[in-house]
Symmetry: C2
Subunit: 142 residues, 2 copies
């Protein structure tokens, strides 16, 4: 695995941790020196050691997505220390619930107007609660 594009610069992680950045640095391909905040954020929330453990747990081709999702989660937690990106899940669940209610109402209107069963219109129904069991006591207080 190659170190970041800047062959003479240590990656953002090694620079922050003040250590030598060598060819087999696990962080280098995903934390280029020109994006120092990406590492600072994941280090603050997860710790360098935990990030390194997670990267070693996943397959090499999954590491970029892993780092990006960790960086997204870390930034969300820094912006919102109480809910982090779980706040986003709760907001999205609320939007889904409202949109589903609106769709149901619109379908009911449509059925009234056309005097046909909704089944003939091929309309689906999303149950977001079947996917994510996020505690409801948090969902009401974002």
């Amino acid at each position: 695995m190659m170190a970041s594009g800047y062959s003479n610069s240590p990656c953002a992680a090694c620079k922050f941790l003040r250590r030598k950045c060598n060819q087999d640095c696990i962080f280098a391909p995903y934390f280029p020196p020109e994006e120092p905040h990406k590492f600072v954020n994941v280090h603050k929330i997860f710790g360098a050691s935990n990030v390194s453990k997670i990267l070693n747990e996943v397959l090499p081709h999954q590491r970029e997505d892993t780092v990006n999702s960790l960086a997204y989660e870390a930034e969300a937690r820094i912006k919102n220390p109480v809910y982090g990106c779980v706040g986003a899940i709760s907001v999205l669940q609320g939007q889904l619930f409202r949109l589903q209610k609106e769709l149901d109402a619109t379908n009911a209107d449509l059925i009234r107007f056309t005097h046909e069963g909704s089944s003939s219109l091929g309309l689906g129904h999303v149950h977001s609660d079947d996917f994510f069991n996020y505690p409801s006591n948090l969902s009401n207080d974002m």
Copy 2:
């Protein structure tokens, strides 16, 4: 702040970390001894020191929600090391997008049937992308 209900038992965090659990333990109110996995998970993903720092950053009445959202995030990351709970955000965004398209199509049907403008029906429109700028390259690969 009181330690957990079991006055003689150390909280799950202190038990795991093999340290004395005293009256001012920051973890005790949120990591009762009967839920050992809650602490094991957050410790594995965030580290005890980072969890303690985050708890000290938020107001006391926000700590329970903070711990619950950290526990949710940690469990999601353990189940899905690549995407963690960011995977849930992506799935929910996809559901919202499809539901909005379905609602738009249903509204268009309704307008065709009634020969009225949709504005008179009071129908709204959710733009999930305005809320969360999650990188689109991840959203397509959950």
